[in-house]
Structure formats: structure tokens, C-alpha cells
């Protein structure tokens, strides 16, 4: 949504009307009238709220920190308590009517699942958005350069993108993660390393389509250099096409981070992340006894992905010039 606003502002500021600004406004109006997109957007707003304030709030209300382990949330056979159950009495047999409530139960280490899922949203969004930002910086620069300059620069960038796309990327990403070690920053770098080529190809296409337009020639006539043409005139033009893919890139990166964490090379424990919570539940087979352990982080992931995918579809439909104006 902010990117959409920004695109409009950039458009208006950069050049008065090389591209029909009206289309953007129509698109925005269409998007606002689409109930599915708006539902998806509200879900995303909720998700951001959950990430920013939900975790600390739940931790404060329940009194359970995200990494805090409660021995009395485990039965004598090490089985954690389930949904809406309270901690065990010190002798470990019956539930304690006054004990603290675990809304989504506890995990194998006696940690509060709800608090961890909420904190997990933080890692998911943080990693996915920063990796997307990094990928966009790399992709936009390379795409602009290769589209504008053409020639050998274009050829080199093309070979790079083709080879990168041929790789089964998760496999190689895990390999790299093993070699350079785990860590938040490393995860962001690895994900960006495997996603920059989508924006690069989109930006390259948009640049090639735009660079022959009259306003670029006009800018050159009045003495604008290459750098000025690239930054002031061509850069604002690529936001529209990028926006459609932006949501799906973020969605992909969320899955990517969860996948890396699932395989144990993501954000290192005990920081809660959805992928790692899932993998803890699945690899230990603990989820067969208590499905919530796999359902909670899994459904959080599915809902997030669904929201991003639905919003992406909505933006695509809204920007589609062939669709009837509403």
C-alpha cells in the first residue's frame, strides 16, 4: 500500500504525465472496492500489529516470556500441556486450577506456544522484508543498468540470472548457510542472493520498454547525463511492474526463511521462528501426540502467505488496463 502511494508520488514528482497517472488512481480505487483485497490487507495489518505489539502484549498478559521454559507445563512423561490448559501442580498429576493459563498449550521445552507464534511473526516479517529490500536494491540496479546500457553488461547479467534461476535454490542456500554459519544477517543475505533476479528481470523489461520513449530523448536533448536519466527518469517508471511482483516476492521470502529455519540453518535458537517451531514439532514426532504444535506455526504461515497472495492478485487485477473501470 505504501509502495503504491510512493509510486504515485514519484510519478507525479518526476515527470508530469509521461504515464497516465489516472490509471494508478483508478487502480487504487478498484483495489479499495475489492472486498477480498481489503480483507487480505486487514489481515496483513493485523499481522504487523501482532509482530510489533502482539508478542510483548501476550507475554505481559500471560507472564510467559518467548524463551522462558516452564517445568510445570510438562507432565511426568515430558508431554506438554495442550490448548487452554493450566500448569500442573508441583506433584505433576492434576491440573492446577489457579496455575497460569497456556492458551495454545506449551511446546516440548515447556514454552508458551501462543507467545512464541506471535514473536515468530516478528522474525518472519523482519527477515522477509529486509531480504526483499536487499534483493530489490540489487535487482533494480542490475536491471536498470542491463536494460539501459544493453551490450555486454546485458549479456553478463542475463547469463547470471539464467544460471541463478537454474539452481534448485533451497539446496544451495542450505549449503551456503552451512558454510558461512547461521545468524539473522546471514539468512537475510542468503535469501536476497536467491531472489534478486526476479526484480532484475522485471526492471530490465520495463527499462527496455521505457528507454525509447520521447521523454527520455527529450531529457537527453536538454543535456541530462546517463546517471540523471537512469535515476530521475527511468527509475520512477519501474515501480508499477515491480509492485505486482513485490507482494509475491515477500511471500516467497517468508516461505524461504521458514524453510531455512525448518532445516536448522535459519535464525538460530532460542529466537522463535515459525519454521523452527514446525521442525521442532515434526522431527521429534511430538506433533502426533499434540497436533497444536504443528498447527499453530503452520496456520500462521498459511494465513500470512494467503494474505500476501490474495493482495498480490488484487493489485494485479486492479492494475490490469484491460479490466473494466469501476
Amino acid at each position: 500500500m505504501t509502495a503504491e502511494m510512493q509510486a504515485i508520488e514519484l510519478d507525479a514528482a518526476a515527470q508530469g504525465g509521461a504515464r497516465p497517472v489516472g490509471l494508478r488512481i483508478t487502480a487504487l480505487r478498484r483495489l479499495r472496492r475489492d472486498p477480498v483485497s481489503m480483507a487480505a490487507l486487514s489481515l496483513l495489518v493485523l499481522l504487523v500489529l501482532a509482530a510489533l505489539v502482539g508478542g510483548p502484549l501476550a507475554a505481559k498478559l500471560t507472564g510467559h516470556g518467548p524463551d522462558q521454559q516452564f517445568a510445570n507445563a510438562l507432565a511426568a512423561n515430558a508431554q506438554p500441556i495442550g490448548i487452554m490448559q493450566r500448569t500442573y501442580l508441583p506433584n505433576g498429576t492434576t491440573h492446577n486450577p489457579h496455575g497460569s493459563l497456556f492458551i495454545l498449550g506449551a511446546d516440548a521445552l515447556g514454552r508458551d506456544t501462543l507467545v512464541r507464534v506471535l514473536y515468530g511473526a516478528r522474525i518472519s516479517l523482519l527477515v522477509a522484508t529486509s531480504a526483499t529490500a536487499l534483493a530489490l536494491i540489487i535487482g533494480i540496479s542490475l536491471g536498470l543498468l542491463s536494460g539501459y546500457l544493453g551490450g555486454w553488461v546485458d549479456a553478463v547479467v542475463n547469463r547470471l540470472t539464467e544460471t541463478a534461476m537454474a539452481f534448485p535454490n533451497l539446496l544451495l542456500a542450505v549449503g551456503i548457510a552451512v558454510v558461512i554459519g547461521p545468524g539473522l544477517l546471514n539468512v537475510v543475505i542468503i535469501i536476497a542472493l536467491f531472489t534478486w533476479y526476479y526484480p532484475a528481470r522485471i526492471v530490465r523489461g520495463a527499462t527496455i520498454a521505457t528507454k525509447g520513449m520521447t521523454f527520455v530523448a527529450a531529457a537527453r536533448t536538454v543535456g541530462a547525463g546517463n546517471r540523471r536519466i537512469l535515476v530521475v527518469h527511468l527509475l520512477p517508471q519501474v515501480w508499477g511492474p515491480l509492485l505486482v511482483y513485490g507482494t509475491s516476492i515477500i511471500a516467497n521470502n517468508i516461505i524461504f526463511e521458514a524453510g531455512l529455519s525448518y532445516l536448522g540453518v535459519g535464525v538460530p535458537p532460542p529466537t522463535p521462528s515459525w519454521g523452527q517451531m514446525l521442525s521442532d514439532a515434526v522431527t521429534s514426532n511430538m506433533y502426533q501426540a499434540d497436533l497444536t504444535l504443528a498447527l499453530a506455526p503452520g496456520l500462521a504461515l498459511v494465513l500470512t502467505m494467503l494474505a500476501f497472495n490474495l493482495l498480490g492478485d488484487g493489485i494485479r487485477d486492479a492494475l490490469d488496463p484491460k479490466a473494466g473501470g469501476r
Binding site: 547469463r159 539446496l171 549449503g175 558454510v179
Partner: protein, 336 residues
């Protein structure tokens, strides 16, 4: 035509060389500085200095890097992928059976996802905005949003584990101990084709769902586009039934595009394989690669990545070439 093939094959060779260079640099050069050296790994923890030096010389690790890379390439060309640090046998002996298992999984899944996607996508393209189309699109977007590493344990739980507890989808309707589908294990095709398919049904479906979603949307768009073309209208006007127009006319025209996407998605499917194989216990490339990563068994990791990347490059190349065979228009203009 011959020039197109030559150009495409050259491109594939360049890609594969780039892949080997990257894999070698990552796992043979960088990895040497982040943990125990390969010589140390092979000689063992209690090796003396002389023993380590001997292994270093035997492996050629004292030679300049460019020479080591050429030796690595030379070994690769002869099918020698190195020696596993952990299993103490040649990597190629580990990789080939794994590749067979993974190929069974991916190719079978491709059949499943096409079987799911073709009718749903085709119907959506034929009757856009109908109830069936809306349902199909909802299913597709849901399928796209479910990560395979969550789907795999869920399917294994509901169709493999739960029936053994006497429940079906949470309802206690079965006798305890029923086994509808096996939870894990793998039988080679050569050993018993029926058991092979039986063990792979759940993994096939798991791997296919995410990609079926992508194909539903793709086939729907293509079908709608093609149905708007003049030839489709002509065929309809001449009295061809809807089924005939869809299969004989439209189907033939969208087949090349679907084939190309299929080639690209073999690489995507190889990513999903990682998770499906670990959950269902199939001894394929993903399973092998993951256990190698846990053991920091670099030669095996390198082997798995190389084989997977080479499969992806070959699949893409074949499909690109097939594309110009299937779509004669590409042959004249200059090809892919």
C-alpha cells in the same frame, strides 16, 4: 534448426561449468577455512601430523587452487564425485540410488499435478467467473499458500499416522491399527512396481499440490487466451464440440507453453523434494543432502547440489529444444 540446438547446448555447458565452479569454490575452498580441513576429516581425530600431511598430498590439497579445480573437474568428467567423510565410500555410489528415488518422486508428482491442474484450469478458462472457476481459483490460491514442509507432516499425520490410531480425519471410525498408506519407507521400482507406487502415493500428492496450484492458474489464463482466438471460434462454428475444441485445438496450442514451464519447475520441485523426502523417509537426494549437511559431509553435499543442478539444467535444455519442435513457429524466427 541445427544452429539453435548448438547454441542452446553451448549455453547449457556454460551453465554447468559455472555451477561446478561455484560448488567447488563454496565447498572445497571456503569450507576449508570454516571448519576442520578435509585432510583432518579423512585422517580422523587422532591422526598424527605426518598422517594428515600424507592425506593432504594424496588429495592434492597442497597444489595451487586452479590446479585443484582442474583435478576436481577431471574427476567429475570421469564420474568421480569424491569420497564421503562419514560413510567412507565413494559419493557416486551414494548419489545414484538417491537420484533414482528422487526421479521417481518428481516425475510421478509431475503427472499428478498435471492431472489435477488440466481439468480445473481448462474449465476455469472455458467458463470464467462461474462458480466452478471461482472454486478452482480459491483452491489454487490456497494451494500456493501452503508450504510443503507443513503440508508433508499434515498429510503424513492424517492419512498415515491417524488411521493407525483408529481415526479418520479425527473421527474414531476405523479399527485401531489400520494402515491406509505407509508413513515412510521406499521400495525400488525394479523390486516391486506396485509397492513402489503404493509407498509413493502420499509423497506424490504432497509434492504435487503446490505446483498444481501454479498450473491451474497458468492453464486457466492460457485456455482463456486461446479460446478468444479466431481458430477456436472457427472450430466452434464448424460444429466441433466443446470437448473437441478444448482438447484437439486449444490443448495442442497451449502444450508447448506448459512443457516449457514444466522444465523450469523440475528445479522448483527439487526444492520441495528436500522436505517431502525427510518427512516420508524416502532415501533420495534431499534426504541424502540433508543428512550430509548435518554431518558436514562436504563431498556428499557437493555431489547432491551438482547432480540436482545438472538435472535442472538438462531438463531446461531438453524442454527448450522440445519447445521448438512442438511449436514450429519458433524454428524460423530464431528459437529460444
Amino acid at each position: 534448426m541445427r544452429r539453435i540446438v548448438a547454441k542452446r547446448l553451448l549455453g547449457a555447458v556454460v551453465q554447468i561449468v559455472l555451477v561446478t565452479l561455484l560448488a567447488w569454490f563454496l565447498f572445497y575452498v571456503i569450507a576449508r577455512f570454516t571448519g576442520a580441513t578435509p585432510a583432518q576429516r579423512i585422517a580422523g581425530k587422532n591422526a598424527t601430523r605426518q598422517q594428515i600431511e600424507l592425506v593432504t598430498r594424496l588429495l592434492g590439497l597442497n597444489k595451487p587452487y586452479w590446479e585443484q579445480y582442474l583435478i576436481f573437474l577431471n574427476h567429475l568428467v570421469h564420474g568421480n564425485l569424491g569420497f564421503s567423510y562419514v560413510q567412507m565410500r565413494p559419493v557416486s555410489a551414494i548419489i545414484w540410488p538417491a537420484t533414482r528415488a528422487t526421479a521417481s518422486l518428481v516425475l510421478g508428482a509431475a503427472v499428478v499435478w498435471l492431472l489435477i491442474a488440466a481439468p480445473i484450469g481448462g474449465y476455469g478458462g472455458l467458463r470464467p467467473r462461474s462458480a466452478g472457476d471461482i472454486a478452482g481459483r480459491a483452491v489454487a490460491i490456497l494451494g500456493m499458500s501452503i508450504p510443503v514442509f507443513w503440508l508433508a507432516p499434515m498429510i503424513s499425520y492424517f492419512f498415515g499416522y491417524q488411521p493407525t490410531q483408529g481415526e479418520l480425519l479425527g473421527l474414531p471410525v476405523l479399527p485401531v491399527g489400520t494402515s491406509i498408506f505407509p508413513i515412510g519407507g521406499y521400495v525400488d521400482f525394479g523390486q516391486d512396481p506396485a509397492a513402489w507406487a503404493y509407498h509413493l502415493i502420499l509423497p506424490w500428492i504432497t509434492l504435487a499440490i503446490g505446483l498444481a496450484a501454479v498450473y491451474i492458474r497458468f492453464i486457466r489464463t492460457l485456455t482463456a487466451e486461446q479460446l478468444a482466438e479466431d481458430y477456436a471460434r472457427t472450430a466452434k462454428a464448424k460444429g466441433a464440440s466443446t470437448t473437441r475444441v478444448l482438447i484437439r485445438h486449444v490443448g495442442r496450442n497451449i502444450a508447448p507453453a506448459v512443457t516449457v514451464l514444466l522444465g523450469a519447475d523440475i528445479a522448483t520441485a527439487l526444492t520441495g523434494v528436500f522436505f517431502v523426502e525427510t518427512v516420508f523417509g524416502i532415501p533420495g537426494l534431499g534426504f541424502t543432502g540433508l543428512s550430509a549437511i548435518e554431518n558436514l559431509d562436504y563431498p556428499v553435499i557437493t555431489g547432491v547440489i551438482l547432480v540436482a543442478a545438472v538435472i535442472a539444467v538438462i531438463a531446461n535444455t531438453i524442454v527448450d529444444l522440445l519447445h521448438s519442435v512442438l511449436d514450429p513457429r519458433l524454428r524460423r524466427i530464431g528459437g529460444p
